[in-house]
Symmetry: C2
Subunit: 222 residues, 2 copies
């Protein structure tokens, strides 16, 4: 079912939506393709990305449950989207949705809120990409993941990362190797533990927070 949109008051929305399941690795939004659909992720995680002609990739975000996709009031998609794991989305035909927006100003306000939030996140990411070091980038990433947090026990936070090192690298403007090396250094420094390659246990979230905020420039144990 298509929850996560808003309160049940908008039951009529469900009539316009079709549930779609997307297999891992499947690209379901093509950058530059006609933007005829609007999506609401209800399960799984997708990577959103932009490409350069020679293959360089920038991941602009990860869309998890509750995330909206394609809200850009544009005729073509500005980015691609690809399922990381098994993804389920609610798909809306854009023309119907737009017509519906006129009847539900509350929905429009909600979308504006969402877009504003995304804009703020995008500006934060620009700061990260333009001015932070590799250590700071990864620390910011881990702390941000911890906030939309999963299992937290005391001061420790266990993250489960559905994306690969390559995804993280392309999200943070680094290479796979640098991400891997930085993970290792964090582990050596006692900031994190790595139970498995897709799990990260934050051992010192405050220190990581400071590091990500650009405060720490101590603790450079090389």
């Amino acid at each position: 079912m298509c929850n996560a949109i808003e309160n049940r008051d908008l039951g009529r929305l469900a009539e316009l939506a079709t549930v779609v399941d997307i297999a891992p690795g499947r690209v379901f939004i093509e950058e530059g393709g006609a933007a005829d659909s609007f999506f609401n992720v209800t399960a799984g995680t997708a990577r959103l990305f932009k490409l350069l002609p020679d293959g360089r990739r920038q991941i602009t975000g990860f869309a998890g449950s509750g995330h909206f996709l394609g809200l850009a009031m544009s005729t073509v998609y500005a980015f691609g989207a690809e399922a990381i794991d098994q993804v389920r989305v609610c798909r809306f035909a854009r023309p119907k949705l737009l017509r519906l927006l006129d009847d539900f100003p509350a929905m429009e306000k909600r979308l504006l809120d969402v877009a504003s939030g995304e804009l703020i996140a995008a500006q934060e990411q620009m700061l990260l990409l333009g001015r932070k070091t590799a250590r700071e980038r990864l620390a910011s990433f881990l702390v941000a993941r911890g906030r939309t947090g999963v299992a937290r026990e005391h001061t420790r936070i266990l993250l489960i990362l559905p994306m690969t090192r390559g995804d993280i690298a392309d999200y943070l403007g680094l290479t796979i190797e640098t991400v891997s090396r930085t993970f290792t250094r964090f582990r050596i420094e006692g900031l994190i533990a790595l139970p498995s390659s897709s799990e990260v246990l934050l051992l010192d979230a405050p220190a990581l927070q400071q590091l990500g905020d650009g405060l720490n420039w101590r603790r450079q144990l090389t």
Copy 2:
């Protein structure tokens, strides 16, 4: 007068607005400050930026005439704003504006469009900051400036840049020196001319376009 908002139909808006003139160098939006106002730039150019504690700065955009500021539906500003040259804005008290939005759904739709456009631009900038080389970044910047273009004569385009090299550097995630050196290289390669330090004449816009899009990896005359 406060034009540039929309069509004259919204004359009532003007009643809520106060025109404010801002001297060059003046910070009129403080990052983290209470977001009690909404601005519409009507003259001049402002830099929008985020700071790290140690002074590192990322400029997230330049706001020229017609640009909206503070549309983030947030309680605090996510970025600072500083006048580059003499700036004139329309200032709206946020509470009044929000109340007004309920009466004018068209206005809300307009804001959603604006936010969507900014989001697309932000994603493009993430690609630039995360994956492009210094040459590609500067080329992208110049071409983008050319599109919101000023005087264009034949195939040549004359840009007048109100911002300093430092601003450009902080916008592109580079240093002043790299920006300056890249300007010089472009000049030597015949891509641009530099009548003065604040003027750039694009001599080969298509080549710059390709370079900025990540196509050119020829023309590396070192």
